[in-house]
């Protein structure tokens, strides 16, 4: 091997996802990409840069401005045996395609008694922090979690962005894959070549003894930073579930066996969010592991406001995580 190809290299999430798309399209003629402005232009996030050139306009397919028709097309195409990937420009715009997503793609396999397979991936950016206000900043994973039929993937690292996207594309079911806009400029070192990561396998990002923090997507980074700030004060274990359905509860229970304390951090509204579900699962199967009340630090139950001064108040910041961990530990001392 030439040193150039074996040397680790730095990639951004976009470049990593772009590689994943290109590799999967090379590997499997049935993989096709649909979306607005994704062709010659390469997509507003540059996710599909170069792909139309390599795979042609029929496989990297520029659509009209019709999210409903896009998702509908890909649902029908998946039923016909293709393996479509859809870029929705912001996850917020899935509102315009909820019927094909929720009443069709998520249910057709089940309604047909298993006759049809729907291998399709919905790729979309999510999250706040870019001052784009209420209709361009949402994290809508909870809708898809409460609607059986979808799998949900939310990577936080560049390595995962690539490996999980490849697995999502190969999965024979509808997968919602959300990447966080605030990770756009992230650069991380990754190995050369290809890799895949199974869905449903959490990653322990940092080991600790006092408390288990479960955080995904952007919040995994913030949780790690909070843990670092608390070094010497509180020993924090940080677990990134990476995929929310399937969900790796065992890794979390194992950690709780050690720490006995749980904080879940996510950006989407707290009410009926992934945090609530994780608390439900943990209390269901691991209640006796808990030394004290499990806590969720979610986004506030508000839309995302425009002004940065407000936006930061709605979504958990590193300081909020630090404060929540301190409260948890001191609360624990007082209570227990």
């Amino acid at each position: 091997m030439l040193p150039e190809t074996v040397a680790p290299r730095k990639l951004t999430p976009i470049k990593a996802m772009n590689e994943a798309l290109a590799e999967e399209m090379r590997r499997d003629e049935d993989v096709v990409l649909f979306g607005e402005d994704i062709g010659a232009y390469g997509g507003v996030w540059a996710l599909s840069k170069g792909l139309q050139k390599e795979f042609g306009p029929l496989r990297v397919f520029d659509t009209p401005l019709s999210e409903g028709a896009i998702v509908g097309t890909c649902t029908g195409a998946a039923m016909a045996g293709l393996r479509p990937v859809i870029e929705i420009m912001y996850v917020d715009f899935t509102t315009c395609a909820m019927d094909p997503l929720m009443n069709q793609a998520a249910k057709i396999r089940f309604m047909s008694g298993g006759a049809f397979c729907l291998p399709m991936t919905i790729l979309a950016p999510c999250g706040a922090g870019t001052s784009e206000a209420a209709q361009h900043s949402q994290s809508l994973e909870a809708w898809f979690l409460s609607a059986p039929g979808f799998k949900v993937v939310m990577p936080s690292t560049v390595y995962d962005c690539k490996g999980l996207l490849k697995t999502a594309i190969r999965d024979n079911n509808p997968v919602l894959y959300l990447w966080h806009k605030a990770l756009y400029d992230l650069e991380e070192e990754v190995p050369p070549g290809e890799w895949t990561i199974p869905l449903g396998q959490a990653a322990v990002r940092r080991e600790g003894r006092d408390v288990t923090v479960v955080a995904y997507s952007l919040m995994a980074h913030r949780a790690l930073e909070a843990a670092e700030r608390l070094r010497g004060e509180i020993s924090v274990e940080v677990i990134d579930p990476r995929t929310l359905r399937p969900f790796d509860l065992d890794t979390i229970l194992a950690s709780l066996g050690k720490t006995g304390r749980l904080l879940v951090v996510h950006e989407s509204p707290t009410c009926c969010g992934a945090g609530a579900e994780i608390v439900r699962q943990v209390t269901d199967r691991g209640f006796d592991l808990l030394k004290q009340a499990p806590k969720v630090l979610g986004g506030r139950d508000l839309p995302i406001p425009f002004a940065k001064s407000l936006e930061n108040a709605v979504v958990p910041q590193v300081v909020d995580i630090v404060a929540a961990l301190r409260a948890l530990i001191s609360g624990g001392r007082v209570d227990g």
């Binding site: 016909a80 019927d99 309604m111 047909s112």
Partner: protein, 323 residues
Amino acid sequence: MRFSCEELKEMYGTMVLIREFELSTIEVFAQRMRAGDFPGALHSSEGQEAIAVGVMSRLRPDDYVFSTYRGHGHAIAKGIPLERVTAEVHGRATGASRGFGGSMHLFWKPLNFMGGNGIVGGGLPLALGTAYAAVKRGTDQVTAVFFGDGAASQGAFHESLNMAALKRWPVVYVCENNLYAATTHVSGNCPLEDIADRAAAYGIPGVTADGNDLLAVADAAGAAVARARAGQGPTLIEFKTYRHRAHCMVIPEHRPNQERTAWRERDPIQRLAAMLLSEGLADQAQLDEIRRRARERLEQALEFMRQSPLPQPADIEEVLYAP
């Protein structure tokens, strides 16, 4: 293309079979309801048989069809085994959708029957996908999608026709305008006289035809299918028709008596029978025999259904996600 005498009689037989199926299904549902059991929603296509049979007559087995909640006729005409349709509608494990779908969700993959749909207009965007798949693979398969006059008010109608027109995809849009959406007259859904005129908004052909005249249906469908198959893009066909029954079993009749009687007189099966007789293509005895055979087929299917087990919850989790 004209039909042979045999073909016409076979199509007549399919129409009669659909009719008998609809009558029997209503009867079984009514029995169950009298017994205090609500067996689900049932939307009869009685009166619209010529559209199902006429359109399918121009499709190949490998052409894709998207149906609706009023889809028994489409399913039978496409060729799903009658046993499977019957078993599905009555919730048996041997049903076309293994009892998971019911009357509104008949699926049959071997014949590319892509499902009924409980969402009005729900199939319209999906039809783009099979059309795309055919283009992508370079096959000449056509996709036909059925929908009602009410469905043409949905955003999905616009998005689907627009995209198909832009990409010249091989879709045949079959609007069964039976004058009502549930209890709403078509004039409450469309400000135009003819829904087909909406085709102009997409630069594609729009055709209106008599949906109760099998040959008119087959002609209109034939032209649209040929166009699609030749890569010339989609067509919107509007068939004027009428359902003999109220919207569904639990909604009382509300349409004017006079209107209903007038349409009864245009019954597509009677009209085809009259034509077969007057042209000397069949005699009454033959037609009676066709009906008898249809009833026999149906009785077999009902028996198959009755012998079939109910779906068991044991493996239900496995159905949701594909391995």
